[in-house]
Amino acid sequence: MLYAILCYHDEDFVGSWSREEDAAVMEKLKLVHGKLAAQGRLGPVARLLPTTAATTLRKDSEPPVVIDGPFAETKEQLLGFYVVDCADLDGALDVARDLALANPGGAYEIRPIGLFMPGAAQP
């Protein structure tokens, strides 16, 4: 069984870390990653860029509306995520539009990834 672990934190707080503090946290995380990887239990790891870098494609209208900022309706929950390789935001929006056609309602938040570790765990 694979589990997704989604990381939530206060952006104001994390954004106030100095470069050294950020690096110190990443070093500590690396130890955890290393242990999991050695056991063959580490899947993809992704650190997202700040929510200010996010774009949202809202699916409840036709054609879907593209807005700035993260997906912020608290009545909607994060149900899964894709990692796709696209040249730019337009490419990512094209993918999101295709997905929206298949899966109506709700929204896709498009957030650039800051760090991506492919990992090795298999289902």
Binding site: D12, G15, P50, T52, A53, D68
Partner: protein, 421 residues
């Protein structure tokens, strides 16, 4: 130790919201700052015992306000401060306050605070100093060090700025849409000033002044979170991220300038570049072009080039062309000439900058660029005259040394030609 580090980060993160809200209550910078300091002292006592509050900013605002109101009520009567227990029902009051303090409330408080710091009557250096002191909470010695002036001089600069702000009639009402966009523009310009103050470092001061660039980026990110759909704020943030990403490669081990073409691109900070590219990508979709966006787009083209020869100079030339229309300035034309020299050759670039000489007669980069272009055309004597002018106008030793290196190179070439004509 760990507790203290955590509290320090929480206080830094809450500072703009808290000072902004306290300023709205007390309408006086000194009172707001003192109230915040007092609240921080109490946080240092209370938080390690009680654990982190749900909303640190709301906690600091409430406690700061209560302490300051108590102080004001007591007036001039000197009495010891009440015990911490005297602040009653902190938790209940805090949750009620936190509910009222939604994002939009913070937003106008912070914008007002930033706007006060970039009061048009203050000279730019005082605007930056005041913002770093009030909004960022840097200490006077920290700011003095970054500006390379004495503590006393910086203290005086900040005191003067505060006095001027106190005398000026600062509007405290919530700004309407037109005022807000005007203020945003002024605030963006002030943040960019902070950045440039840090970016204009020479090799030997780069380490000292880099924190200014980081602080400017932090302020821009804050502004962007408050106004997530303002393309120019995205552009400004992207511009600073992309420029600062190159910082590790801008100077060599001896503190000498390394030009863009010669920088080790492996040293560029890929994380900052990724965020900058994402933001400018997003900004351009709004089709509301502004000067920061264009400059960021130019920086993005440099950042995207893995090798210098991959740089899309034709596109950079076009972008400078739009910038010239939007914001005509001889310095922009001078920068464009560098792109032109790559696309259409040094001759075309020289022709382009020739009419600028009168207006840029005191500008280091004009003569540096002119010298480099003349050198490309093999006009060495003229190049040397231009380089001599540039050295005379250099503001830092790194700038002067950089031109000397060109001069030495050109002399070596001369000597080589005399031996092997």
């Amino acid at each position: 130790m760990t507790d203290l580090a955590w509290i320090d980060t929480a206080i830094t993160a809450s500072r703009p919201q808290a000072i902004g809200a306290l300023l709205r209550y007390f309408r006086d910078l000194d009172t707001a700052e003192e109230a915040f300091q007092n609240a921080c002292l109490r946080a240092l006592k209370a938080w390690p015992q009680n654990g982190p509050p749900r909303d640190p900013a709301a906690w600091l605002i409430l406690v700061g306000r209560n302490v300051a109101i108590d102080d004001l009520r007591r007036g001039k009567k000197q009495q010891p401060l009440p015990d911490d227990e005297a602040i009653s029902d902190l938790d209940d009051a805090e949750s009620a306050l936190a509910e009222r303090l939604d994002g939009s409330h913070y937003r106008d408080d912070i914008l007002r605070l930033l706007f006060i710091c970039c009061h048009p009557e203050l000279p730019p250096t005082q605007q930056i100093a005041l913002a770093l002191r009030i909004v960022s909470g840097l200490t006077v010695p920290q700011i003095a060090r970054a500006f390379l002036v004495s503590d006393a001089a910086m203290e005086q600069r900040i005191t003067r700025a505060k006095a001027k702000v106190a005398r000026a009639r600062v509007p405290f009402e919530t700004p309407g849409a037109p005022e807000r966009s005007e203020r945003l523009g002024a605030v963006a310009a002030m943040i960019y000033l902070v950045f440039n103050e840090g970016y204009s470092a020479s090799g030997d001061t780069a380490g000292i002044r880099a924190p200014l660039c980081e602080e400017a980026i932090r302020l821009a990110r804050l502004l962007l979170r408050l106004f997530p759909s303002e393309p120019e704020i995205m552009g400004l943030t992207a511009l600073m991220l992309l420029q600062h990403a190159r910082a590790p490669a801008r100077f060599d081990a001896h503190g000498e300038i390394v030009l863009l073409d010669e920088q080790d691109r492996g040293l560029w900070d890929t994380k900052l570049i990724a965020e900058g590219l994402a933001l400018i990508d997003k900004a351009m979709r709004h089709r509301r072009t502004g000067a920061y966006q264009i400059q960021a787009a130019i920086a993005a083209l440099h950042a995207r080039a893995t090798r210098p020869e991959d740089t899309d100079w034709a596109q950079i030339d076009l972008l400078y062309g739009s910038l010239e229309i939007l914001q005509p300035s001889p310095v922009i034309t001078l920068n464009r000439a560098v792109a032109v020299s790559k696309v259409r050759g040094a001759e075309a670039a020289l022709a382009m900058i020739a009419p600028l000489e009168e207006r840029l007669s005191n500008y280091f980069h004009y003569f540096g660029t002119r010298g480099a272009l003349l050198l490309q055309l093999g006009r060495r004597d003229e190049a040397r005259t231009a380089f001599d002018r540039a050295i005379a106008l250099a503001r830092t030793t790194a700038e002067a040394n950089h031109i000397r290196m060109h001069l030495d190179r050109s002399k070596r070439d001369d000597a080589a030609e005399r031996i092997n004509p």
